[in-house]
């Protein structure tokens, strides 16, 4: 199915440059289709409107931080009694400073909140989005929390995020705890010898 879809996308959307990833063990990994980021709106329009292999629903949009690049995954599905299907579409964004992508809200209205969440958490901006605000964090939040290089804020609106009087990181660190256990065991064995 993925090979057929890739052929159809490449035939109908020029410059889509679609490639299929088909894993050896399909029980462990899902197959996916990787496409050109600049063509995502054309591809979404085609996926929704074609007659050969249509997809009438968008399940999810999620952004992933791979440190060197961002990846935005779309899951499209087709709700049909005889022939249901699902596909994972991936685009790669190499610009870490200002990753941009075309919004597909005009084609799939379900993308509205999903794209807002991807912007809120990962900082992927969507061109022509009807309501490009943050969705979970407050509007005056600084930074994008799910990026790998996110730095925790110290203060927010006059509230201390990690108050020194309440924090005791050393006790919580696994190694420190392990050291304590080792020390106790050593002390116990010394007692036994004596």
């Amino acid at each position: 199915m993925l090979n057929q879809l890739v052929e159809l996308i490449n035939k109908n959307v020029p410059g889509a440059n679609a490639t299929a990833f088909i894993p050896e063990d399909t029980a462990k990994l899902d197959g996916s289709v990787t496409v050109e980021a600049a063509k995502i709106l054309d591809i979404a329009t085609w996926l929704r409107s074609n007659t050969e292999m249509p997809f009438n629903a968008l399940h999810v949009i999620s952004a992933v931080d791979y440190v060197e690049y961002f990846e935005v995954c779309y899951m499209f599905a087709h709700y049909d009694v005889e022939n249901p299907r699902e596909v994972i579409l991936k685009v790669k964004l190499t610009d870490r400073v200002d990753p941009r992508l075309d919004s597909i809200v005009s084609v799939y209205p379900a993308a509205n909140f999903q794209e807002r969440e991807a912007f809120d958490m990962m900082g992927v901006r969507f061109n022509n989005h009807p309501d490009p605000r943050r969705i979970l964090c407050p509007d005056d939040w600084v930074g994008f929390p799910l990026r790998k290089d996110y730095v925790y804020p110290k203060m927010y609106n006059g509230m201390e995020v990690f108050p020194d009087s309440k924090m005791n990181f050393e006790d919580r660190e696994f190694k420190a705890r392990q050291d304590l256990i080792n020390k106790a065991q050593k002390a116990a064995s010394v007692d036994e010898v004596q």
Binding site: C137, P138, Y152, P153, M159, E160, V161, K166, F169, R172
Partner: protein, 160 residues
């Protein structure tokens, strides 16, 4: 002596009235609110302690049960709600998140480390989430605290 007798009686009378009609605010933040609802429902029946009338506005409520994770976004709202309540007002901090940040303690960049950073807390109820029995004990502890209050003496006898 005469004043003392009268004032003590009035104190007890006021405290008795206050502690037996603690109206909480309808205010749940996370999963602890589910336990709070269970406490208010028929099996655990918070109304036995006079605290079952969940008011839909802070103006009419006496106690705020902070049930759940207080995020930084919500913290300013919690403070506003507390300021809107009429005196006398009390706060029960329910669950680990409201007490001290809970599981969001170390990496929770978005969670306030304890609701006592923004409002004064009277009773802490530990648990994740606390069982309804725990919340009932928290309410009873608050009632004991109210029963020992001497508001009038502090205000009136000092100047008598």
């Amino acid at each position: 002596m005469q004043d003392g007798v009268v004032l003590t009686t009035l104190d007890d009378f006021l405290n008795w009235g206050r502690k037996n009609s603690l109206w909480p605010m309808t205010f749940g933040l996370a999963c602890c609110a589910i336990e709070m609802m269970a406490t208010g429902a028929s099996k655990y029946d918070l109304e036995r302690f006079g605290a079952g009338a969940f008011m839909a506005t802070p103006r009419r409520s006496d106690v705020m049960i902070v049930a759940g994770t207080v995020t930084l976004k919500m913290a300013t709202r919690v403070k506003t709600l507390y300021e809107q309540m009429a005196e006398p007002k009390y706060v029960i901090s329910m669950g680990s998140c409201a007490n001290k940040g809970g599981p969001y303690w170390q990496h929770g960049y978005h969670v306030l480390k304890g609701v006592d950073e923004v409002v004064p807390v009277d009773v802490y109820v530990p648990g994740c989430p606390p069982r309804p029995e725990s919340l009932i004990e928290g309410v009873m502890t608050l009632q004991k605290k109210i029963a020992n209050e001497r508001l009038l003496r502090n205000k009136c006898v000092k100047h008598a």
